[in-house]
Structures are given as C-alpha cells and as structure tokens.
C-alpha cells in the first residue's frame, strides 16, 4: 500500500507590522511636536579690548564718531557724524555717507579701514543700534553682502538722566 503524503500549499509569509507602525507614529508625533520654525540668525563681530573706548587715543587713526540721539521713549531722533553732519533718523543717508567715505570698497583686511565709534543715548532702543551697525558695516546686493566698515566700537555708556 502506497503511503499518502499531504502536501501543504505554501503560505504567504506576513510580517507583523503593528508594533513597528506604533513606534513610527510615536516618532512622527515627537518630531511634529518639537518642530519649530525660527528665523536664521547672524552676528556682528565687535572686538573691544578693555580701554579700547577710553584712555590714550592713537591720533594717527581717529575713529569716525557716530552719535545716536534718542527721545524719552527711546526712539531715534538724530544721527550725527563727527559732531558736524546730521542725517535726521535716516539710515539710508548714513549708508550713503559711508559708501562715499569708503568708495564702496571693503577693506583688504578686517583690521584695516576706517573705524567707527558709536556713542548712543542710554535709553536708545537696541534695534536702532543694530540698524546703525547694519548701515555702517555693509549692504546687501542680492545674495551677496558688500562689506564697508569692519571695525566698530562703542563709546563709554552715557549714564541715564535722573
């Protein structure tokens, strides 16, 4: 008598995906919750050793004095260069002056070129200080940034009026 063998049809191999999908969804939720859109940030570099703003001054390289005046609310009222030229509160005019001064050329070395000393009223809002630094240090031409003045320093802080 011949033996009978049962042949099983091959079963489709199926992976158990449930736990993997659980983990993947947890990862997805984590990334969605921690995702934060924030603007890019950049720096203006200022090199200021102690005594750089005060003390004996090198008379061969006198910095351009930039005076920023504020009203009682901290709003910018006047931009004055070297105690003589006033630009109101127009940073475009300040940039035009710097362009004229530098000829639109960046200094060959960051330690070369004119130096600007910023002297501001104590209560002037910081955003105006950054606007002034922006107007002095360069201008954007499309995606390119043209450097104008690399050397910036601050004068000694003016104590607020009582």
């Amino acid at each position: 008598m011949a033996m009978q063998f049962k042949t099983h049809a091959p079963e489709k191999a199926e992976m158990q995906l449930t736990s993997m999908i659980d983990v993947i969804f947890l990862l997805l939720i984590f990334f969605i919750m921690t995702f934060k859109i924030s603007a890019q940030e950049g720096d203006f570099n200022v090199k200021m050793p102690i005594g750089g703003g005060q003390g004996a001054m090198d008379t061969t390289n006198i910095p351009i004095k930039l005076r920023l005046r504020a009203n009682g609310d901290g709003e910018l009222t006047d931009i004055v260069v070297d105690d003589s030229r006033s630009f109101g509160n127009d940073f475009a005019k300040l940039r035009a002056f710097i362009l004229q001064l530098t000829g639109g050329n960046a200094p060959p070395d960051p330690d070369d070129g004119p130096e600007v000393e910023i002297d501001l009223d104590y209560n002037l809002r910081y955003e105006y200080v950054i606007s002034a630094i922006t107007a002095i240090t360069g201008q954007r031409q499309g995606d390119r940034i043209e450097r104008l003045v690399e050397r910036i320093k601050f004068a000694a802080p003016r104590k607020p009026n009582p």
């Binding site: 993947i24 969804f25 940030e41 950049g42 200021m48 209560n123 200080v129």
Partner: protein
C-alpha cells in the same frame, strides 16, 4: 434541493505599504529639519532684525551666550542675573577657559539682546565682560531678507 453556501470569513487587511512610505517620508523630513543647535535661544528674547545678519559658515570658538531681556535680566545658560551682578558668572567661565589653557581673550561673547532693551544696557553688559578680560563680542540679530 438544498444549496449549501459556504462563506469563509477572511480577515480584512488594508494595504499599508503606501501609508508606511508616506509616514517614513514625513519622519525623514522632520529629522532633517530639526535643529538641536537652537538650545541657546531664549523664548523671551526678540532679536532685532538686520539684512546683513547672515548665519556664520563656521561656529564661533569658545562661545559664551548672554541673553539680555527687555527688563535687563541676563540669562547665561541656566543662571539668571542682572547686568551689575554678572561678574561672578563671567569669572566662572573665564576660570574654566584658564583650566583648558586658554584665556578670556579667546572666548567669543555672543550677546542676544531684546530689540526693545536700551542700548546703554548692552553697553554696560559689554563693559562688564571687558572687566573680566573678554574682548571678542558678537551682537546677534535675526536675518531679515528683503
């Protein structure tokens, strides 16, 4: 005549392949965009904007991040201080640099000040850092593309 209808109930299985593909793509998207380097940022600080503020190509060496808020409070890592009382915290950082064979002159002090804080306060902050020996400062601003 009896008709026997036999139904075999099958487990209904949706095709998960395309959904898993999509979920993986989403995960990759978020993984690429996540930025752990923003941990120094402080939610209370709204930076002034500038068209010239471009992210640096190389990170600054030996950075010390000072967040100055509108009311004059300085956040330095987990520590909080006023500008006047900042010196001990700055000295700790200077000592840590000294232990590494460096000095305060080698550090880059990154100042993240609120746009509405007074400029004089930022000057005082810089002066306080100078007293400890720091020389290099980076005034941070938000990129404002025209």
């Amino acid at each position: 005549m009896a008709i026997e209808r036999s139904f075999q109930t099958k487990l209904a299985e949706g095709d998960m392949t395309s959904m898993i593909d999509m979920v993986f793509q989403l995960i990759i998207f978020f993984m690429v965009l996540i930025n752990f380097s923003q941990e120094d940022q402080n939610e209370k600080i709204k930076l002034p904007s500038s068209e010239l503020a471009k992210p640096a190509e190389t990170p600054l060496e030996n950075p010390i991040v000072l967040n100055l808020d509108f009311s004059g409070v300085v956040y330095m890592g987990p520590e909080t201080s006023t500008v006047a009382g900042l010196r001990p915290l700055l000295q700790v950082e200077a000592d840590a640099l000294k232990a590494k064979g460096l000095s305060a002159k080698d550090a880059n002090v990154i100042i993240r000040a609120h746009q509405n804080t007074s400029g004089g306060l930022v000057q005082e902050l810089i002066k306080k850092c100078q007293e400890v020996g720091y020389e290099k400062f980076a005034l941070r601003a938000r990129e404002d593309r025209p």
